[in-house]
Amino acid sequence: MTILTRLKQWKEQSKISPEQHAHMAGLARGEPFSLFLELNVLLYAGVLAFVGGLGWTVSTWSEQIGDIVVLTVLSSILAACSWYCFSRAPVWSPAETPAPSPIFDYVLYLGSLVWCVELAYLENRFRLLSGRLDPYLLATAGLFFFLAYRFDNRFVLSLGLSSLAGWFGLKISHWSAHQDAAYRQCALLYSLLLGVGGALLQRRGLKPHFFGTYLNVVANVLFWALLSGVFNRQGYGVWLFALLITCGASLAWGLTRRQFAFVAYAAVYGYVGVSSMFLRSVNDQTVVLSYFVVTGVAMLAVLVQIGRRFGRTG
């Protein structure tokens, strides 16, 4: 029985009204057909291509074009975006606020990215802070957090989170072995600050829908940091203990809140950490493979049970 037949049946049984039937049957037939998602993707791709080209052009032709022209163009775009956003924004509310216009989020995103390009240009051309990048990153993170909370924008919140991560010295490509401990400390501090900050903001009711974004970033950074400690040749016990506690917390959170991404994090990161500890001194291939067979099946059994009890939906 197709959904259209079902809807007709439910209408005849008075389980849904004729108006509901007409509306939902239309939706099931794609009448009207919404292009909402496609148009948003097109806008996002357009903004990204535009700023990418802008950065490329500026970096390649700045000498020929001249600083004044470059800075005038970038500042004009920035000013236009700022004017648009501040003049169109509704009165601030701590709750989730819909964008005042369909393009509002993308204008704000464009402005934020152009700000990045302009700042990078200024520092690299004029060395205003003698190549010290920390103040830029911190100020930019602050600006992006302000904009994200003022205009209720996840794009800019994510930019703020990555800027703050930059300020903390987190950059995956720089994660080399000899700096492991320093980066791990930065990552842990970053996770702590973000987790506590996000929780406090949520408790105070300030854009509580952002909390999921904070938690996902915190969880991943924290798990990577702890795993890097577990991979240490010495003194890994404390990191393993911390990893297990974090896995437990992630699992509990995922199951109670029905956010199964956290269950997946706990399963995968926990498995990697525990396996690395068990297998670090094992050279026998048979033992290693047997370990993977037994633990793989055990994980499957546990996850199937979790799936049966909690995970049908979502």
Partner: protein, 398 residues
């Protein structure tokens, strides 16, 4: 042929639609609870995260079990091949059993088992029949051919659309065994996909508005994309995955001029055709492929014509994309009730918002790394690239 009964799959689809509509407020809570009881399914489903993790651990278990079988004994290649073929049968049978007995539906486990069966089949044929035989391209083509056939069977039997995509990938490797002409290889692959497209178009017309429509839509989109990629000879110059697509970057001079320019005409003709088909069918996936093909045509046009790229090309592309999006949105919004010709720019499904929220978080984190390409300045004094500032940049690539 299908492993699941149509009533079970139709019920699952109804359940999903009800959840979506209830989330949008089209149904009251009481109505939703009542109707949900009527759409109880005998199939066991799970959410996407558990599905992925179950897939991963099934792969680990099966892979380790198979490797364990060969460790220590040092079997010959033929023995490995024969046992791989047996493993392929066992994995496939286990997948069928998991569905038949436990009612698993997109559960990760049965999906990983079918994936393993394809892998074992290809490895088995390679080791059992081809390892000791002299070079025989026609015989070697058995491996991708068998992989493609099994993947197609899995698609028909289990309904995994990505199995069809896997079959298409296997199909890419086949012409290389039959002819050394690159033009012929492109042509054969395009013909494969075109034949598949005709078949799908005929079959899917019988499944308007039922549970199979989405699957066929996705498969048709794959085929359109495959045809486009097969005829666009210049995509390799964009450092797209040319290495696995056609064993490296190609020089245009290796293609005959008529063939080369015919493909240039075709890459301009295909996007509007695909877009028109998608819009006529109101098919989200086909529309998306049409849009992707259009962007790829813009991007690969200059290399086709031998014109140099400019740093401002992406700016123009960005303006075009944004302009098109704004024009369509405004045009639709001005229609009565925000609807024109059955299309609207309004959001009608909660899923769209979920996608936008997840996408904005994910791409917001990534985009600072990708907005600026590697710097190449003409003067040592001008050192814009390589900076680490730029706020969201947080990146040495900035």
């Amino acid at each position: 042929m299908r492993l699941y009964s149509s009533s079970s799959e139709e019920t699952l689809r109804a359940r999903k639609l009800l959840t979506d509509w209830a989330g949008e407020g089209f149904l009251t809570r009481e109505q939703y609870q009542l109707l949900q009881k009527e759409t109880a399914s005998d199939l066991r489903t799970t959410n996407i995260f558990l599905r992925l993790v179950l897939f991963l651990f099934t792969l680990i278990s099966v892979g380790a079990a198979a490797a364990l079988f060969f460790v220590g004994s040092g079997p010959s290649e033929q023995t490995i091949g024969v046992f791989s073929l047996i493993f392929a049968v066992v994995c496939y049978a286990a997948a069928e059993f998991a569905v038949f007995q436990a009612g698993l539906y997109r559960y990760g486990i049965e999906e990983a088992l079918t994936a393993c069966s394809v892998g074992f089949l290809c490895a088995g044929i390679q080791f059992a029949f081809l390892s000791d035989s002299p070079d025989s391209p026609k015989l070697e083509s058995l491996v991708p051919a068998a992989g493609a056939i099994l993947a197609l069977w899995i698609w028909r039997r289990f309904g995994f659309s990505y199995a069809f995509f896997a079959a298409m990938i296997f199909g890419v490797f086949l012409p290389g065994y039959w002819t050394s002409s690159h033009s012929a290889q492109h042509l054969i692959v395009a013909m494969f996909y075109a034949t598949g497209l005709v078949g799908i178009a005929v079959v899917r017309s019988r499944h308007r508005f039922d549970y199979l429509e989405e699957g066929y839509s996705l498969v048709e989109a794959f085929l359109w994309l495959g045809i486009y990629l097969a005829i666009n000879l210049k995509l390799s110059s964009l450092d797209l995955p040319a290495q696995w697509w056609w064993s490296g970057t190609r020089d245009s001079s290796e293609f005959a001029r008529p063939f080369y320019w015919t493909t240039w005409v075709l890459i301009w003709c295909l996007p509007p055709i695909v877009l028109a088909r998608g819009i006529r069918q109101k098919d989200r996936f086909v529309i998306a492929v049409g849009a992707i093909a259009a962007v790829l045509t813009f991007v690969s046009n200059k290399p086709y014509l031998g014109w140099p790229r400019h740093t401002w090309d992406p700016i123009l592309l960005g303006i075009v994309l944004t302009g098109v999006a704004l024009f369509i949105r405004r045009w639709l919004d001005r229609g009565p009730g925000g609807i024109r010709h059955g299309f609207t720019a309004m959001r009608l499904s909660g899923k769209d918002k979920q996608w936008i929220d997840a996408g904005s978080t994910f791409f917001g984190l990534l985009s600072p790394q990708s907005i600026t390409p590697a710097p190449h300045t003409s003067s040592p004094d001008v050192r814009f690239g390589g900076g680490h500032s730029g706020g969201g940049g947080a990146s040495g690539d900035f």
